[in-house]
Amino acid sequence: MKQYCFNIIIYKDAVLMIEETKIQNLIARYLNGECSDAEISELLDWCNLSTQNQIGFIQAKDIWDLANHTANRSDQQLIHFYRKQFEQSERSRVILIYRIIAVAAVFVVGLITTVFYPKTPVGSVQQMSVFSVPLGSRSKVVLFDGTEVNLNSGSTLTFPDRYDGNARKVTLTGEGFFKVKSDKKHPFIVKTTDFEVEATGTQFNICTYDNDPFSAATLAEGVVSLRMNNSQQAFSIKPGEKFRLNRLKKNYNQAATDVESELAWKDGEFIFKNIPFPELVQRLERWYDVKLLWSGKNLESYAYTGRFKNQETIWQVLDALKLTTRINYQKISFREFKISYKPNN
């Protein structure tokens, strides 16, 4: 008889444990956004059974919410705050302009900054807006004239806040795809550190990161002319052509290119064809906002071709590279990886 009771107790415990594990799994699924509405309903019922259950769930979720790296946007938001105040209050405008400028000046380096200066012109000061995209993300702006610009990771576009009736001039560092609103009377000009691209109504891509050894312009449609900053030398680029400047050797070439893969980034795809390893690393770093450490001549001597969708994580990309090429990788810290050469399989 005693033996019988004992068995029942064990059985009850086992049922409780299974029940507990089931709820724990349900919570883990809920947190990672994998529950149907019916399952959420089940979890909610469980929470409502006792205060202890409720607290258990809420605390697990609290830690889940804590263990996250959400980008800090406080700087950009503070500027946004002052701008909103500025737009709303007439009377304290002057003070607020100074606040915006002062705050903006503090955050000049490496920021997601949207700075807006006063809407009414002050003397001959040109009012400019700065639009920056942080590493690891992409964005799109529509300019004063209706021109659409897609900006790739780590890019900055400066443009006038208001159209003054002359040429439409913008400045770019990083990579941008321009869909220029047609206006034959007012040419659209993109200034970069190396050259200026002038168009009236076309679609083109410019890639001009400060830390790259090259800069380039690719034309999808229409006509553009490109003028070098230092020599005033001018080139006319045709659709499907790419103009590429080698900043180190100070030479350039202009040739037909695969426009589709050049522009894939704007649709969240990452396509690269025969690019050298250092360039691949640079692009992955920007695209995923990670640091990839590497060294060695062996790695440099290969050219890489591949295609990734935006959804893939850096792990998946590195795994793919590891499987298909002589690369091995090792995680160092949260967003840092070390890449090494794997001599033989």
């Binding site: 809920y30 697990a60 804590l66 946007r73």
Partner: protein, 183 residues
């Protein structure tokens, strides 16, 4: 930098993260936090002592989140009903005065605490939270059943909670000892 700027920069990120607990859309969350700062600015409350200002900010965010959720309930009358009720339960809990770890400045400590976990727990947290992988993808990556991934995630969260609580307690203890004796 004015006092207001410092206040904004000190609490903005914390409030933003806190809002994301209840509102998943980042832009909506940012707008909501902006409105709280506007209220504190317009009423001049930011000139109060810091503890009180922090109180206004968090109370404001909690109330706005509850209003947002109530609005969602009306807008999405039939879809995702349980999900919205879940959020409502959560925000009501915090409105009763309970503090979240995000309110207690645990943001800076969490990375160290995650680092201190054993590998099997650390990896599920990193893959789910920092790499954004779904439980099924983690299971495939680690070659273990999905149920095991889920159990490990829950266990990891429990361990993190214990470790974070101990860390906060120790800090409190140290502060206590350093502060001068009243006599």
């Amino acid at each position: 930098m004015t006092d207001f700027d410092n206040l904004f920069l000190k609490y903005h990120h914390q409030l933003f993260r806190y809002t994301l607990k209840f509102i998943e859309d980042e832009n909506e969350a940012l707008d909501l936090v902006q409105d709280i700062f506007i209220a504190v600015w317009e009423k001049g409350q930011y000139r109060d002592n810091e503890d009180r200002v922090k109180g206004y900010l968090f109370a404001g965010v909690k109330n706005s989140c509850l209003n947002y959720i109530k609005h969602q309930k009306v807008v999405k009358r039939f879809e995702q009903h349980a999900a919205i009720r879940m959020k409502e339960m959560e925000v009501t809990y915090y409105l009763s005065g309970e503090q979240s770890f995000l309110e207690k400045e645990a943001i800076q400590k969490i990375d160290d605490v995650i680092e201190s976990l054993t590998d099997i727990y650390k990896e599920v947290i990193i893959l789910s939270r920092f790499e954004g992988l779904k439980n099924k993808e983690i299971a495939e990556r680690l070659n273990i059943p999905v149920r095991t991934v889920e159990t490990r995630i829950f266990r990891a969260l429990t361990l993190l909670k214990e470790k974070i609580s101990v860390k906060s307690l120790m800090l409190f203890f140290i502060r206590k000892r350093i502060s001068p004796e009243p006599f």
